[in-house]
Homo-oligomer: 150 residues x 2
DNA sequence: CTAAACTTGTTTGTACACCAATCAACTATA
DNA sequence: TATAGTTGATTGGTGTACAAACAAGTTTAG
């Protein structure tokens, strides 16, 4: 019959994560929205800057996007000529992606805003809390095994 | 000109929030997926259980969804007869929503799973860290002014 | 060898969430 | 009682996520 068991929405991890994410998105929008990049698109560009060249799928692993999501992100970035795609000569299933010079330049100008965004997101916390929070969050974000070698 | 300024994706608040959210969604799915409710639908039902009757828009404020999102959630819940809608006699713009008896019963059976979901989401942390984390997260989740009276 | 089973990379279809813009109904002001 | 401003709900468009499909590569048993 289950009479009203307690459940406080405002104390649920999922609800709070969602709201924190909303706030972060708003900040992201404010800082980077001008260039019409989404957080995922930005993540893909930044990671590509680090690794130079990878298969689409592998990039997905590096940025925590599933393959289908990655393909959409890549498609939109490619249509704006921010990245290049070419087939892998050794494996015809693979599409190798890399930054275009235009993309490379754009990422470099945005990276500092990227750092600002995290700073502003954590702004309600004192410095000690910020580190604490990121550490705890990192523990919670572990999904399964990580990337691989390539 | 900007030569490679540092930016570690894995330490950005947004990226970690997103991954934590992904993990939470997976847990939610595992625990509640059988009944085909999304986290937002569940939040709406649970909140409706608390307040009995509110306008659609106001429910959105209580659950941190914007009006457009709320309307989609309500529509889907109504199509499954989990909630009822009726016009507000005092304000013809408003739609007053409330749980159907079916919806009420469903929420009651799911609330304990809801609590499990948060527990399992926070499972990688020790009890002290859990409280810490939720407190910090709540600070970050503050957007602007809250609801209102009605 | 080579055919079957399995794995991995990419794409397609669908549902959902979010924003911006719109329209309708209420409120305040002059 | 007009007019401007505000609030409730809806619509359309974009982006993300999951599941399923398909194609290419690898492994294993005959």
């Amino acid at each position: 019959m289950a009479a009203k068991e307690g459940y406080i929405l405002e104390r649920q991890a999922g609800h709070l994560l969602r709201r924190a994410h909303q706030r972060h998105s708003a900040i992201f929008q404010e800082k980077i929205g001008d260039v019409q990049l989404t957080p995922l698109q930005f993540a893909a560009l930044v990671k590509l800057r680090d690794v130079t060249e990878v298969s689409q799928n592998h990039l997905g692993r590096l940025t925590a996007m599933d393959a289908a999501t990655m393909q959409g992100v890549i498609k939109r970035l490619a249509s704006r000529n921010l990245i290049k795609r070419r087939p892998d000569p050794d494996d015809r299933r693979r599409l190798i992606v890399s930054l275009s010079s235009e993309g490379y330049e754009l990422v470099n100008t945005l990276v500092s805003s990227g750092n600002d965004i995290t700073a502003q997101t954590l702004e309600p916390l004192c410095p000690a809390e910020r580190k604490q929070f990121l550490d705890l969050l990192a523990k919670l974000a572990q999904l399964s095994s990580n990337d691989a070698s390539e």
